[in-house]
């Protein structure tokens, strides 16, 4: 495809993305994965009434905690959040609150949406369960590694993914990888002049050369002028997940906990 046409088609995708997402996540009901706007709005009211006095309007009133950007002392999953709110933290200034289920979901939603009433509040599950799913029926380790442990190197190592991605971006990747694949990670297919087909994941590219990890796990650098064919695919090798909404939330919880070597 002509590079300009290719780029134009990408533009088209980007502009229509908000519409494309639900359709792309075929078979998945987004309501199972996210809190509703009504939840977020309810949470905003609860927050102002019960939380803002100590945590502040921006969520950063308590040392070491920033609720708006998701920095906690101990909390990882949404259930952790609920537990802290309903039971408090003994020996600290965090009291317990007697909230109804709707109010409790609301406060979690408001925090997960980054205090943004029009934001997206992604459900975040239990990291330990998420790790188990990641390593078994999620079939993630076939391609991904975590800090060097796992399967092939064809997909990026996820050891620091909790630092570089938001929950919403992770969810999009799991539900509909084609709407979340970073351009640099696009799969490459090249055919050399002597007929060898090279497939892999792009690491770097310039006008004349491309660097990649090939399907055998080796580093390759190709000179474009020496290739018979060269294609960059917009379709990720990763397929949309078949996991349940709760399982996806758990996997997201696990991925968010991956923050590099301690």
């Amino acid at each position: 495809m002509h590079p300009l046409l290719r780029t134009f088609l990408l533009r088209l995708c980007a502009v229509t993305l908000p519409l494309a997402l639900p359709a792309g996540a075929a078979g998945q009901n987004m309501a199972d994965h996210q809190y509703s706007t009504a939840d977020i709005e309810a949470g905003a009211r609860v927050y102002v009434a019960d939380c803002a006095l100590c945590h502040g309007a921006n969520g950063d009133g308590v040392d070491g905690v920033n609720l708006r950007i998701g920095r906690f002392r101990t909390v990882r999953s949404d259930d952790d959040l609920r537990r802290v709110v309903t039971t408090g933290i003994g020996g600290s200034r965090m009291p317990s609150f007697d909230l109804g289920t709707g109010e409790l979901d609301g406060i979690v939603a408001y925090i997960r949406a980054g205090f943004d009433p029009s934001g997206v509040a992604v459900k975040v599950g239990d990291p330990a369960r998420g790790q188990a799913i990641f390593e078994s029926e999620g079939r993630c380790v076939g391609c991904h590694r975590v800090n060097g442990v796992g399967g092939r190197r064809l997909a990026p190592d996820l050891g620091e993914i909790g630092v570089t991605r938001t929950a919403a971006a992770l969810q999009r990747t799991i539900l509909d990888p084609s709407t979340a694949l970073l351009p640099i990670n696009r799969p490459i297919r090249a055919v050399t002049r002597n007929g060898e087909t090279v497939r892999g994941r792009r690491l770097n590219e310039d006008t004349y050369t491309v660097q990649l990890i090939d399907a055998e796990g080796g580093l390759r650098s190709l000179v474009k002028a020496e290739l018979a064919e060269y294609e960059v695919s917009l379709t990720p090798t990763m397929r949309p997940t078949t996991l349940s909404a709760d399982q996806v939330a758990d996997v997201i919880g696990y991925l968010l906990s991956l923050r590099g070597l301690p």
């Binding site: 300009l4 533009r11 979340a180 351009p183 770097n204 590219e205 310039d206």
Partner: protein, 549 residues
Amino acid sequence: MKTLRAVLLVGVFALGSDHLAAQVTYERILGAATEPENWLTYNGGYSSQRYSALDEITPGNVDDLELEWMLPNQVFGAWQSNPIVIDGIMYITQRPNDVMAVDAATGRVFWLYRHTNAENARVCCGANNRGVAIHGDRVFMGTLDAHLIALDAITGRALWKVEVGDVNRAYSITMAPLVIKDRVIVGVGGGEYGIRGFVAAYDVETGAEVWRFYTIPGPGEPGHDSWEGDDWEHGGAPVWVTGSYDPELNLTYWGVGNPGPDWNAAQRPGDNLYSDAVVALNADTGELVWHFQFTPNDGYDYDSVQVPVLADIDWNGARRRVMMWANRNGYFYVLDRATGEFLSGSPFVRVNWSSGLDANGRPIPTPQPAGMPTYPGNQGGTNWYPPSFSPRTGLFYFSAWEDYATTYRPEESEYIPGRAFLGGGFDVLTPVPGAPTVGIGRTSQINNWTDAVGHGSLIAMDPRTSQPRWKFEQFDVSDSGMLTTASDLLFTGGREGYLHALDARTGEELWKASLGGQIVMAPVTYEVNGRQYIAVISGNSLVTFGLPE
């Protein structure tokens, strides 16, 4: 030992004589094209064509080019400086405001002058300096804290220093000055800080200000009614790229930058003259003779700080004195440089902020709905990267950014002196949310934004038709300027760190060198002792090539 003593004796005699080195008169600058062994001004001469009559390096032997010398910069950051070369001596600046005198044949340094800027000096986009001007035996540099300094070209000692703008109000100078007659002319940066821009001329001997032209008219002046209330007092319109000069018309031409606040046009109703315009000034008085505004009431940061490129070309069967201009707003223009008359204009990249130009060259605005991308994006279809015009090919060469778009978020901004005055923000359009985007210059050897957010295109434009004759595409975007020579070679670079030599007629690539660091200036050429050199800055190194001896 005998030989050495003999040399020393000769040296003593030389010191005692009236040896005049590096005397660059106004007449020499006027005739810059006739001494192509030198590179006398930022743009190579008053017409700013960046075309050299040197022809030792040809399409037939360019493949033999070899490294002559390298001079590493000790300061990190984009190195946008452009050397000038006079009689074998190169003058080059490095961040933030150092000047070096260098042996152009060996790369060894005679002296280094270091200016320490005021701690509150503010620039939006890096501690850049693009070079010096020369006159007589003096070298002139503008500073980030908005001073103009004259140095002794032989000793590197400062001779005078004057304040051009108030650093407390975030005035700065990043451009190379231009000497015309016995004045040194310089403009000010600060378009992101609510300055009131100007161009000013200073006496080369004393530093006394001779004239000053404000790029925003004051009360009672023509054009003042293109602003409302006190918007004109902090409306930006900086001048941060070196202008041009037509000695026959005695007009000096300067491109003017964006109005402020940058992205909220609704906050400053009116055309906002002379932001995003070219102004033609009487070189002796600084009086405005004509202006042409490319982007009235700009909300996209489409600075018109491109280099005004002057040439006499055939136009509908007659010789015409024109100015060629590929603008950041995505249109390529040809103007009559005597009158400012609009001759032609057409887009060279995808443009959707405007549906076209009317008969007078005024754009027909088509602002995009909130949240929708605007083409070209914030860095523009092109920018300050110096173009080249080859009188041999009749083509105008420049770096364009293709398929690059931005979504704008205009907001009300309060003007506070010396503080950023931006009027909101912007996001570069990416194929998926949160993907890496292209920025101002490279910060990594890994291109993880890819061509999906924009890519470079060297356009060889035929000014008579406004149609590209050919294009040379790059995977990454390019901020590199252009150099053409009498042997029909075109030298350019890019962020990927390749130095390319192309056939200026066909665009065929004849030679390249992988230097690794981003090239964010224009290569220059000069000659010492009969040998032609090509000098370019890649990353943190000034690199010079020549043919084998």
